[in-house]
Subunit: 215 residues, 2 copies
DNA sequence: ATACTATACGGAGGGTGCCTCCGGTTAGCA
DNA sequence: TGCTAACCGGAGGCACCCTCCGTATAGTAT
């Protein structure tokens, strides 16, 4: 429906059903994408992210195509409807959040990793703000998009959170889903500025720490 | 800028500067509006509320004009830009919230009035959800719109809240602005359904009661 | 290396929506 | 009842979303 279903950006370690290591991007029919098609697909998602963050909802498809250096027809070949492009950008942002969690686990201490991930989440939500209404529409059209993305974000946070809990630096009576339930509305609220959201999430971080942080 | 500045719906008892009791609606230059103009203005706001709630952001100006039974030119005479119409609907909703508070104070007991107002607030916020991004734009264009509306809502809640506090049925260590700060993000959050928002506001209401409500 | 074919590319153009302009009509007043 | 200022309404300009189809190219077999 939305052009290409799952553009593999993440490197899933999920061994539940190791059907195939698929580093090769494939199109809807399962055939590998042609090199030029893949190049343009990636360019378009990147351009869309730039243009949407710069111009908000008012950004035009033509502007995205121009920024990507491709024709308007190419854009619509990959993303039949405007909402499909919004969805692709969103999926990309979610995957970046996941890799941010993986990087934090790999490169930072248990507590720092939590802080880094929460900051990444604030940035992620900030970008989401401008297209909030269009995302809502995408969620209405495809409810699974919302639940799957939410599950993926919960997993990502769990990666850093449970590690911090095992290390004893974060209180053990919260799970990642609860934390996301708390910070997601704060970060996407339309009545708060980005700074206020960031501050509130900082308070949540302090609340997670154990023992109590120095005042 | 936005057609007609302050369409008098409320009956302000503010005696700071009683320049004139103005039940007569006036246009930008201070002259009274012609009867047909006033009729169409009101029809347009009502029609816009209907159409926006039904069709969301995708609603067209033509649809509003049709629903109001006026020509497209008339719509643009009153509301030069689409955002001006959104703003008018929003102002109208805020004023209805204020009158809801006044009615609750007049017709219900101290505690029931608080509950009624909170429920009215949930409905108000629910209607606001669909045009959230456009409202954000309106706030950016005219920051005073946001602060004035917020102040007016705070006042409205204070009407019912302080009465309940004087009656001893609501804890005294909260003020209306705090309560609005708490429920506004909850009600406009894009990650919660309307039912979840209503439930959470119900919890806030329980938390306000003193002594603790029966479980 | 070359030829073939499936696939991708890109721009012209249709349809819709926001907004403007101006001639016809009507409310308010003497 | 007549005058004038103000209002009404629809045709049309401009921008944007999206479609269609002829052209160019990647991938493959010889």
């Amino acid at each position: 429906m939305a052009g290409f279903e799952n553009f593999p950006v993440t490197s899933e370690k999920d061994s539940r059903e190791a059907e195939e290591e698929a580093p090769e991007p494939r199109d809807a029919e399962g055939r590998p994408m042609r090199a030029d098609a893949r190049r343009n697909y990636e360019r378009l998602v990147m351009a869309a992210r730039r243009v949407f963050t710069d111009e908000g909802t008012g950004a035009s498809m033509e502007a995205v195509a121009r920024d990507a250096g491709v024709g308007i027809g190419t854009l619509y070949r990959h993303f039949p409807k405007r909402i499909d492009l919004v969805e692709a950008v969103y999926r990309n942002d979610v995957e970046e959040l996941v890799t941010a969690a993986e990087k934090a686990v790999a490169n930072s201490g248990p507590l720092e990793a939590v802080d880094e991930f929460l900051q990444a989440f604030v940035r992620y939500a900030e970008a989401k703000r401008t297209l909030l209404s269009e995302l809502r529409e995408a969620f209405d059209k495809d409810p699974e998009l919302k639940s799957r993305s939410r599950a993926r974000i919960d997993q990502a946070l769990d990666l850093v959170l449970s590690r911090a809990q095992r290390a004893g630096v974060v209180r053990g009576d919260v799970d990642s889903s609860e934390v996301v339930s708390m910070i997601a509305p704060v970060c996407t609220s339309s009545v708060l500025t980005a700074e206020q959201s960031a501050r509130l999430v900082g308070l949540v971080f302090d609340g997670l720490r154990t023992p109590a942080p120095p005042r």
